[in-house]
Symmetry: none
Subunit: 222 residues, 2 copies
């Protein structure tokens, strides 16, 4: 119960949990990481559920995670891990660098974001950064985010279309799917599909999270 998590980093190096659904990729990067003598890969996982289990049993200093995995989203795994331990460091290691995905990752509680196209040195440096409690991202990710912040963009909601926004608004306001369908002259099925789509796009897993997001973005007033 009272797990005093202190700085074991300095005494035993940085313990790492590797999460990626592709074993070869895991192996390859495991070797790269273990070449650093202050890194220890203490566990691996090939999906979100196993990642959470491994985190519980190993309590690694840093979780290096690919978020594009089959089944449950990697974002979910991040949220689960962070829900269990608010001090957990998760470094996302992704194939892509879309602003929306980066933002979703940080929104889920990630401490860093490095693309697989980056140099190993960049990943290694990022791991050291997040282990120290800092935030880190590779140069290409930073560039995308910087560009994206200059242009319009207000929130995680601008990845949603007009219709999706409206449905989210009514949903967060407390309307039933049937009511929304009636209001917008849609079939209930379509509203259900939108609901699913919105959750997928925003990376929210729970209706409650969706409502909070809507409120935070000023879509719904409390």
């Amino acid at each position: 119960m009272t797990t005093a998590k202190m700085a074991t980093v300095t005494t035993r190096g940085i313990s790492i949990l590797l999460v990626d659904d592709h074993p070869v990729v895991r192996q390859g990067y495991r070797r790269v990481l273990e070449h650093q003598d202050d890194f220890r890969v203490v566990a691996e996982a090939d999906n979100a559920a196993n990642a959470y289990r491994a985190f519980k049993s190993h309590a690694p200093d840093v979780v290096v995670m690919d978020i594009s995995m089959p089944g449950a989203s990697g974002l979910e795994a991040i949220r689960n891990i962070r829900a269990r331990d608010a001090d957990a460091r998760v470094l996302v290691f992704s194939m892509h660098s879309e602003a929306a995905q980066v933002k979703a990752a940080f929104g889920a509680g990630a401490s860093g974001f490095v693309t697989k196209g980056s140099e190993p040195a960049e990943l290694i440096a990022a791991i050291r950064s997040v282990a120290r409690g800092e935030h880190a991202m590779s140069d290409d990710v930073a560039r995308v985010l910087a560009l994206e912040s200059l242009v319009p963009t207000k929130s995680a909601l601008d990845q949603l279309g007009e219709r999706e926004i409206e449905i989210l608004r009514q949903f967060a306001a407390g309307s039933t799917k049937e009511q929304i369908a009636a209001n917008l002259n849609l079939s209930t099925k379509t509203v259900q599909n939108y609901h699913y789509l919105i959750k997928a796009k925003t990376g929210m897993r729970t209706d409650a999270q969706l409502v909070r997001l809507a409120v935070e973005c000023g879509l719904a007033n409390l």
Copy 2:
């Protein structure tokens, strides 16, 4: 002299432990409180566990605590503190003034309840009151409680039991039913049943309405 504990107060002023998860808020009120020359902020804490630790090592005359903190409930911290020292004075300093929350705080052993919307003078006066062993609450809290005692079941939440409240809190915070079940060592089925029961009791139809209710009642902070 027969007043052993009183003596320390008069000779060294009132020692205070500040508990709030928001550092800026802590800083701000620390400055306000230390402007009173008979006040001494001897420690700060940003969560329930640290609050208890700090109380043990500093034994302050008054604990000023925000109970809407992440992780373990502030109520639990109050109970822990009071269990260790039945003479402990805890002044709850909350964002909200729901009758249910106020009652829960006093039920847990709080000596006072002041909302963050109150004037600094009101907080200062309340601290002096509870330091003298009296009970104190800000005017708006008193009004809510008075109203609530005249009209039965004002808040929709006091028809809920301890367990139901906790489940609603976690649900509104965005947790999955599985996560809640894991946190509370229950079966998923039981959590589902509670979810249904809570909606039935509160008359909410939608999960979104439930979240809004929880936030409005100060159960969940956005």
